[in-house]
Symmetry: C2
Subunit: 405 residues, 2 copies
Amino acid sequence: MSPINDIFDELNADLAPGQEKRLNFDEIELKGGHLPGETVDFSHGDVDAFEPIPEALDNFNHGYKEIGAAQAYTVYRGREDIRLDVAEKLSSFSGTAIDYENELIITPGTQGALFLAAGAMITPGDKVAIIEPDYYANRKLVHFFRGELYPVTLDYMGHGDKAGIDLKQLEDGFKDGVSTFIFSNPNNPSGVVYSKGEITEIGRLIKKYDVNVIVDELYSRQVFDGRIFTHLSSLNIVPRENIITIIGPSKTESLSGFRLGVAYGAKAIIDRMEQLQAIVSLRAGGYSQIVLKNWFNEPDHWMIERIEAHREIRNELLRLFREADFEVRTTEAGSYIFPRLPGLSIDCENFAKILNKQAKVIVTPGTQFGPGFKDSIRLNFSQDKEKAVDAVKRLIKVAGFYKVE
Amino acid sequence: MSPINDIFDELNADLAPGQEKRLNFDEIELKGGHLPGETVDFSHGDVDAFEPIPEALDNFNHGYKEIGAAQAYTVYRGREDIRLDVAEKLSSFSGTAIDYENELIITPGTQGALFLAAGAMITPGDKVAIIEPDYYANRKLVHFFRGELYPVTLDYMGHGDKAGIDLKQLEDGFKDGVSTFIFSNPNNPSGVVYSKGEITEIGRLIKKYDVNVIVDELYSRQVFDGRIFTHLSSLNIVPRENIITIIGPSKTESLSGFRLGVAYGAKAIIDRMEQLQAIVSLRAGGYSQIVLKNWFNEPDHWMIERIEAHREIRNELLRLFREADFEVRTTEAGSYIFPRLPGLSIDCENFAKILNKQAKVIVTPGTQFGPGFKDSIRLNFSQDKEKAVDAVKRLIKVAGFYKVE
């Protein structure tokens, strides 16, 4: 097999969230019957149930009609006045000084930011530390840029006060020559938030071993139950030239259809990310960029009500899963839950396929987040509550059909 | 210097089209005075002068309001009904059968398509043939994917009936182990169209030496003076598994602000491109995708009138340049002209900086299209005619200040 086949075998996206429509189900043998009900796609949030920030579309139309060419063609890192506005808002939110001219880039989604940051840091053969479980693209990016994965365990089921990162393992990796560390906080898929102690220690290790870090804080605005969220960049432990933070309005704010993300941090890395963006996609969609002005600028109470509505759905789904003996950690931030399937005769990948076929419920198999999570599934509970509850009841029934006695 | 610095030095985008706003001019010594007049940016087309396809924005709003979540989250290769529509239109336009399910992907701009196609074909050390001059990103993509450039000369000033590709050089490269060939037709920056004879011979050589080809036909709808345009894919010489064609609505149709492009061709390569898109930016902007329904579906006469208006601007600018002893080939398709500066004391990169400073006229230096084009500049003449004429007069005056006596 040629090297390019090897690389693309690792990138296989057939089981990735949102790609389920392209799966082939023919070979699976079903037990139990079909369960009627509306299709619910837990692979991502439902922006019909939780709609985009009000007036986002109006602002897009304004950009097209009133600003026109200057909005269509921006410099590759994004239109200056929008970078200025976003840098101010993110400085305030994250407790981190951000120079809009040199330290921030607007990208096509946070996926775009992650790709550019990884491409600006990783060269073939580099050791890259990632968390298991963590966002599926992190490991794929390392493969694509021909780095070497160094997995670090997150014992997310264990601790009420910590996320559960194995700091000893992380330091061993850093001693062993890891040059880049990529992780999400809140963790995707488990929904746990790293404690201030954990973030402080991560920062200290990054500084001590001169590692570059990409921290993906995509879900950091939607925090439940008064949990404290600590922005790694705000601690001023990691040197400015070693850190890139990623965030965007695709999740909590439901603006995913506009494909917008932001990265901020080290000037030299942001410069490289822009050079890379010039050959990847030129810029985030010109007219879309202006929608960032609506971000962190939502109507009064909009964010509070949204978080409360998500908290209620979370509570109800956790209750159902626990009643049915699925082990699950309580989501501390974001919209994901990551339950363990209770002793089934099939693994999570086949369960996901079967569930889709038998009950029209779409979930993401745990193996997308690390090879060890064969007994877990991820659900994004940013859904219509009634439909989500009914779908999880069907999910639990289907699991019952395949239980090992 | 570390390898990643080497890679990013080659990607330097400071002189790339659209990035001029971020240049530093301090070190340049000026001759002659400032020339008053409105800023004209010839680095790209002016979508205020030539507006997007009517109803494109209405359709975007329809996608957001009426389709909602299904439009925001599509499979990575793009929403099925849009792929079906686009495949039918492009099949008819290009004379090539396209299977919408397997042979077509929607990307964030044609830049996105080019990046994904190159990433799906090139592995480190591969020899990649490119044309000089040709679109600046082609060579940068080869550098980024650590391929080895094999440049092929296009003698674009020479021939009325041919584009001027050196087919002997191309075959020598193929014999020498070139595995991928990337070129634009119509050629960017010169605006020449490859003859049917040239395309046929290119196809024959690709087949004979089993090379992969990416042909960028971005400007192939805007053809002047009855010039015949030959789609490489339509000749059925190149095996289906070896060819990817790229096209999009960003130029002639002025939809660049929506960031939309399309690639069609080899199933196995389209599959890889989708796997890569999954980690690069997930998908082209969801709501934007629906705007592709307006493409190839413009009001009667819209396209004919647009081409005629561009032909008139082209003719006027060519006349001005030739009167002032700038050598220039007549554009056969697209909106670019690529004149040679007549014997100046400065090279094109400094001329571009000076011109911007002294006369507020932005052009792209020839060195973006190949290291040998130190005496050339590229202009996109999709502009307000009156302003463009005035700006070219200023350009000619500024050139006069720096003429070698």
